[in-house]
Amino acid sequence: MNFSELFKQSNHLCKVSPDGKYLATCVQYRLVVRDMSTLQILQLYTCLDQISHMEWSSDSQFVLCAIYKRGLVQVWSLEQPEWHCKIDEGSIGLTSSRWSPDGRHILNTTEFNLRITVWSLCTKAVSYIKYPKACQKALDFSRDGCYMALAERRDCKDYVSVFVCDDWHLLRHFETETQDLAGLEWSPNGCVLAVWESCLEYKVLLYSLDGRLLSTYSAYEWSLGIKSVAWSPSSQFLAIGSYDEKVRILNHITWKKIAQFDHPSTITKTKAVVYKEEEKRPALSEDLSLHLNSSSSLFSSQSKYEILSLPVHLPVVKPDPERANPKIGVSNLVFSSDSRYLATKNDSIPCVLWVWDLQSMTSVAVLEQTSPVRCFQWDPRQNRLALCTANAKLYLWSPGGCVAVQVPAPGGFQVQALNWHNTGHSLVLVGKDQLCLCYMDEDQDQDQD
């Protein structure tokens, strides 16, 4: 495993282009585009103010930089560096900005969710979509980029509009049986839309592409409900994580629950391997100069995984019952790319990551870290999970074993987020205001610790 040097970035804005050739990072008000293999700076663009959001277009030709403070969006072209585009939302303000799947339209959500403005780079035309809903996830594009689903709220009722992304033609508009819609997501095959309620009621509705209600699922009443939802990449399973610290898996044929995964604080009986990260502080030798010369800092600690025997007691962080959106329940669900594994995190046990096997519907691994898990992502090509816990280490899990790698970056670099490259050969490790690239060595086998 090789690590690159550190580069500056701000706001965790660094993204690899969809074709995998370029890496774009934002440093305050500058946009830096590097070549992925050599990390040489190819282009440097300057925006008018600090960039709040940055996104690649789907064909990797353009990059949009949004400045929410000023209500501006600036678009830059890779092919033609002198080309420029500036969209000013005016006094209406800007809260979010994104590309359309064809890479030629920009959707801006104005302040107070008054409307969504669709700007076309091809025709300079403008379209407006009224009454978008202000919720967790109101807008979703289908994976093939053909359709867009938007949650709307009119007269205290929730609606879903399905648009054709080609010409923004309204295909379907239907009312949903929800009290307060919190989010919607297309299935990867683009035929089913999952719509879920806010956490006050556990309810998931499944609509077909043409607006028919296929099924409703509700696990229990009264207690706080759904916290996170994820589709499996094969569209066979829908995983729902809720505030009762359980994940329920629905199947795509009957839309009924086929499995339930618990996240208890005490594990007494399981076939899974329980890994625990053990930190070892190296003893300070007399010859301090040796340490100072080495690349790792003086106070870094080595980590390795120990396998624990049952029963295992996991550290629970009790949530504050008075506050809203309590830190309890399954907040993060990520499927592996072949839909075989599911990685989950329970907020009341934040240092622990669970990995479930969907073929046997049981857990295969439980990873206990020394600090709360911040970010975890599956390798897009293999069954390999990378996670980070805001320290200077990178952790990798695969069915063969688990490994903790020290990131040899000086100056207290903490890995706060990570992104896989779409080939699975490298990882972008994002710190507070620096980033580092990690190149995987494909020849080596992973050691089991």
Binding site: E111, C122, D166, L171, C191
Partner: protein
């Protein structure tokens, strides 16, 4: 008078006779006033009777009827009358006493009766109260049980209430949070509205592009018409239908595989049952019928194979068939299990028992043999080990010593031989060195002689002859030394060989020794 007196006496006698045993009189509750004519006093024993009566009267404390002083045969009438009067009085007194006693007895009887009645009454009451008490205990128990269950229910209800309260509090927290958020947003809106109203320059929306960009796919965009709308709908339905088609295909495939597996299972089960049938002759009749059924089914199946197995009938047939076979197999297994449980009681048991016993015995014998063997081995080993510790072993000392001595002798001879070999080796090396030196010197001489010869070579034979002669010797020597290699080497070899043979002989001699 005397007759009356006699009569009186008779009656008195009778009464006296009746009074023969004085105790009897006191114990009798009723008196027989009409007493039997007694035979106490007759003409003969008058005196005795008188005496007897006097004694008795004395014992009773009454005045005697007869005093000795007076004439023995005559009685004092007065005394007698007094006696009789006393007796009568006594008697009356006794009667009265008896009456009183009878009355008292009656009274006491009645009181006893009444007491008995009261006691039975009290017993009944006691029983009654006991029963009541039991009943009350029972009620108390039931009520306590009820109280416990109610308390339990109360606890459950409290828990549920707490749970609901926590739910309510979380929901209330969420609602409050949402309310606050909305209020904040509302405030922001109001502010913005105010700002907009008061704002002088109204920044308009605008896009500033250097030049238009072509579409990603390079095509031109279409006008929005009904046709395009219809096309969109069509595309949407096409995607949906494609998805359904795919799903149906997958499901059909899965179904076909599962059906194949079921068929396979059924065939396997049938074959297992058939093979079991052939071994069990006593169950032949029972299976006969089933055999026919199976054959029928097989026939059906073969026909069905040619027809597609997608009709409901065929599916039902298959599942029913599998269920039937499975039930049969289960029954069969159950009967087998029960038979295994009964086995020891049957005929086999004796045979197997015998064989088992024989085997056991043989095994035991083997074990014993092995144990004995091990023991003897152990003993021998111990003996072996203990012998070098200094204990005198009776059998082998002299032989061992002889062996030792022989070995030591051989060792010495070998040492000697080794030393000889060393010496000879050194001799050889020295000889070789010497030989090489000699050779060198010889070569030098030869060279010199040749030089001398060559230089002194002249056409005149005389002058040379003596020199020749003199040089003959060198020449001869030269010649002799000139065929040099072979001769000298031969010599050297022979020398070596000789020494080698010498050594060999020496060693063989040593060995022979």
């Amino acid at each position: 008078m005397p007759e009356s007196f006699l009569n009186f006496k008779d009656s008195g006698c009778s009464s006296v006779e009746y009074r023969a045993s004085p105790q009897r009189m006191f114990h009798q509750p009723s008196l027989h006033r009409s007493s039997v004519c007694s035979t106490f006093c007759t003409d003969g024993n008058v005196q005795e009777c008188l005496l007897h009566i006097t004694q008795e009267m004395a014992s009773l404390g009454l005045s005697p009827i007869w005093v000795e002083s007076t004439r023995p045969s005559e009685l004092e009438v007065v005394a007698v009358l007094n006696c009789i009067h006393d007796l009568i009085q006594l008697h009356l007194k006794d009667l009265r006493a008896l009456e009183n006693m009878e009355v008292e007895q009656l009274k006491s009887n009645s009181s006893i009766d009444s007491l008995q009645i009261t006691s039975t009454q009290l017993k009944e009451e006691l029983e009654h109260y006991k029963r009541e008490n039991n009943g009350l205990h029972e009620r108390e128990r039931q009520l306590q049980h009820k109280v416990k269950s109610l308390q339990h229910g109360l606890k459950n209800e409290k828990e549920e209430v707490q749970k609901l309260q926590s739910i309510i509090s979380t929901r209330a927290g969420q609602y409050n949070h949402e309310m606050k958020r909305k209020e904040r947003e509302f405030d922001k809106l109001k502010e913005r509205l105010n700002q907009l109203l008061s704002d002088k320059k109204d920044r308009k929306q605008a896009i500033d592009v250097l030049n238009r960009v072509g579409r990603a796919d390079g095509k031109r965009s279409l006008w929005k018409t009904e046709k395009t709308e219809a096309k969109r709908e069509e595309e949407m339905y096409k995607t949906l239908l494609n998805d359904y088609d795919n799903r149906q295909r997958d499901l059909l495939q899965e179904n076909a595989e599962l059906k194949k597996i079921l068929q396979q299972m059924k065939k396997d089960m049938v074959s297992i049952l058939k093979s079991k049938k052939s071994t069990k002759t006593d169950k032949f009749e029972r299976f006969q019928k089933e055999d026919d059924d199976d054959e029928e089914e097989d026939a059906l199946n073969s026909t069905k194979h040619s027809v597609e197995l997608f009709s409901d009938d065929a599916r039902e047939q298959l599942t029913n068939g599998v269920r039937l076979q499975w039930r049969r197999l289960k029954n069969h297994m159950e009967t087998l299990d029960s038979k295994v449980g009964e086995l020891p009681d049957r005929d086999y048991s004796s045979v197997s028992g015998q064989t088992q016993e024989q085997e056991m015995e043989s095994l035991k014998l083997e074990i014993q043999k092995c144990k004995d063997f091990i023991q003897t081995q152990q003993q021998l080993l111990q003996q072996q080990l203990s012998s070098p510790c200094g204990e005198e072993v009776t059998l082998l000392p002299t032989k061992m010593q002889q062996e030792k001595e022989r070995l030591e002798g051989e060792w010495e001879t070998l040492e000697e031989q080794r030393q000889i070999f060393d010496r000879e080796r050194s001799n050889f090396t020295e000889a070789a060195i010497r030989l090489s030196h000699e050779r060198k010197s010889f070569e030098e001489n030869r060279a010199m002689w040749l030089k001398y010869h060559f230089l002194n070579l002249s056409p005149f034979p005389d002058s040379n002859k003596p020199e020749m002669q003199s040089s003959e010797s060198p020449f001869s020597i030269f010649e002799a030394e000139n065929n040099p290699g072979p001769a000298a080497e031969n010599d050297f070899h022979s020398l070596c060989e000789g020494s080698r043979t010498k050594a060999v002989s020496a060693s063989s001699e040593d060995r022979r020794q």
